[in-house]
């Protein structure tokens, strides 16, 4: 999703150190290297994807965020990015805690389970929603902990995590999420992008 990358890239200052957790094929890493002067590292669980990244000369290590974030010292990165994978962890709570430990700032994007199509699916069909961003069936989804933008806001508030910026993505439309329009944005956003700080 190009728009997501644009938003993330805008958050990041030049010459900073970035860790992309769950970097996949390294597309975001390449985007950042191309568009920003950054030092970017990646962590990825899939061997196939790690090999692809390394073939492109990207500094990526094979590992999973729930166990392998431990090895990074406190505040060793200016930014740590977690793009659309928070919901797949056994313990999103621990992962967020670790991200905030390793990174001075943390960028998290979440597929919004509060989107009206998702709500409508459940309301009208009475079935678990299957959408473009969430294409899985309930029995094969890797997404263990789906949440809405509102849920994530509440989580941050409870955990005393500062949300510096929050952006709504709806198709190609990019807009700001504020406390005043939160209910509405939670209904129309496909993706929420958050810049966090402890």
């Amino acid at each position: 999703m190009k728009e997501e990358f644009k938003v993330i890239s805008k958050f990041i200052k030049e010459k900073s150190r970035v860790l992309d957790v769950g970097c996949g094929d390294g597309i975001l890493m390449e985007y950042l290297l191309k568009n920003k002067v950054v030092d970017v590292r990646g962590l990825e669980i899939s061997k196939e994807k790690v090999k692809k990244c390394l073939s492109k000369g990207l500094a990526v290590i094979e590992g999973d965020a729930e166990n392998d974030l431990k090895q990074f010292p406190d505040l060793s990165f200016d930014y740590v990015i977690l793009s659309q994978t928070l919901q797949a962890f056994m313990s999103p709570e621990n992962v967020i805690e670790n991200l905030l430990r390793v990174g001075k700032k943390v960028i998290v994007t979440i597929p919004n389970f509060g989107h009206w199509k998702v709500r409508l699916d459940l309301l009208l069909k009475g079935e678990m929603p299957v959408t473009k961003n969430l294409p899985y069936q309930w029995y094969n989804t890797p997404n263990l902990h789906m949440c809405t933008i509102q849920d994530f806001y509440n989580f941050c508030k409870n955990k005393r995590v500062n949300i510096y910026k929050s952006i709504s993505l709806n198709g190609e439309k990019i807009s700001n999420i504020k406390t005043s329009n939160l209910k509405y944005k939670n209904l129309i956003s496909e993706l929420g992008i958050f810049l966090l700080e402890k």
Binding site: S55, G57, I61, E62
Partner: protein
């Protein structure tokens, strides 16, 4: 055979000093005008300088023929690949088989005990001789990987890229145990004669062959052995109720042992395994491996193999962790294969192609100053 005589005194870890000693080497490909395409490869326990092509002594393919050559992982159309025989070795470099001019006999066990550090320091002279200011990369598997780690810690930023493969920063008790088994096999051969055997006549071949057989098992995985040999019988339809090689695996190991003694010196085997056992980079840096790589600007790419139980992924990962702790530029992947520790020497396409792409991309990225 190419070699240089190192005149400069080298102070060994054991305290002794050596000078005017030979170091045999081989090169592949050409050094370019900018002299920025040189790769120094370190060989493993039983390797030598003949990484690629036909080894002129053994008449067999070089030990890393799958990886080194035109169009291969270490593409010799593009890179200038250098490989030296380690000191302590038996392919032309200063070792226990070197003839002592005073006695006209092999030095044997009068040769000083050497370390991985000594090996690397000796090879550094080769770069001065070849007038290479900065290497593009250093690479090696197993003991070669240990040399990579020692090299980058001894000579920070001498290489832009480091590829330690299937290795460890600290030889484990299990590693030492297997090496000790090999050494005991050699030393209990009556032909060993406290290491002062004459290479031309009676060698401790039986002991060396057993050492090789035992070691060979550690290079393979259980699954790999089972798939290749299972309980297949060797040229017979039934068990013979004797101690001949009934099983194919027995015959295979005996063969591996017998061909090894033709190309390797028993004393070299003792010295090199000892050097591996003494290797503990973590201890060299006061228990903190990260300190070995302090302020490094080298890009590291660490590779391990799923079925390697001799230098398992966990030990390779310790190196990754130490590098991450200091924010070094490090890539790491564990390659899936059932070929065991030997995977780095074999035709493992995933492994070979990932290295090739990594080196080629990194070389052009560095030239374009993107990284």
């Amino acid at each position: 055979m190419k070699n240089i005589i190192i005149e400069k005194t080298l102070k060994l870890d054991c305290g002794k000093e050596i000078s005017n000693f030979p170091l045999a080497y081989e090169t592949y490909g050409n050094l370019n005008e900018k002299k920025d395409n040189a790769i120094l490869i370190f060989h493993a326990l039983t390797g030598d300088q003949y990484a690629s092509g036909i080894n002129p002594i053994t008449k067999k393919e070089g030990w890393w023929s799958y990886a080194v050559g035109p169009g291969k992982s270490f593409d010799t159309d593009k890179f200038f690949v250098i490989c030296a025989n380690v000191i302590g070795g038996c392919m032309g470099s200063y070792g226990p088989g070197t003839i002592d001019p005073l006695t006209n006999k092999p030095i044997g066990t009068n040769f000083p005990v050497i370390t991985i550090n000594d090996m690397v320091n000796a090879q550094y002279n080769l770069l001065d001789y070849l007038k290479i200011e900065k290497l593009f990369a250093v690479a090696g598997g197993s003991m070669g990987g240990m040399q990579v780690l020692q090299f980058v810690s001894n000579f920070p930023n001498k290489a832009k890229v480091a590829l330690p493969i299937a290795c460890t920063a600290s030889h484990s008790a299990q590693n030492i145990a297997f090496n000790e088994l090999g050494r005991q096999a050699i030393m209990s051969d009556s032909n060993w004669k406290e290491g002062l055997y004459d290479e031309k006549s009676t060698n401790p071949d039986k002991g060396l062959a057993v050492a090789r057989m035992a070691a060979h098992i550690t290079y393979l995985s259980k699954q790999g052995l089972q798939e290749k040999f299972g309980r297949n019988l060797q040229e017979r339809s039934d068990l013979k109720f004797g101690f001949d090689a009934d099983f194919q695996i027995e015959s295979y190991l005996r063969y591996q042992g017998s061909v090894f003694v033709d190309r390797f010196d028993a004393n070299s085997y003792l010295y090199i395994t000892r050097a591996m056992d003494y290797f503990d980079l973590t201890k060299q840096y006061g228990g903190n491996l990260s300190k070995a790589f302090k302020d490094t600007k080298t890009k590291f790419f660490i590779i391990s193999f799923t079925s390697d139980w001799l230098y398992p992924t966990s030990e390779n990962k310790d190196i990754v962790i130490a590098l991450n702790a200091i924010g070094a530029d490090v890539g790491f992947v564990e390659i899936k294969t059932d070929k065991g520790h030997d995977s780095f020497l074999l035709d493992v396409p995933d492994f070979l192609s990932t290295i090739k792409n990594y080196l080629n991309t990194t070389y052009s990225n560095i030239n374009e100053r993107r990284i």
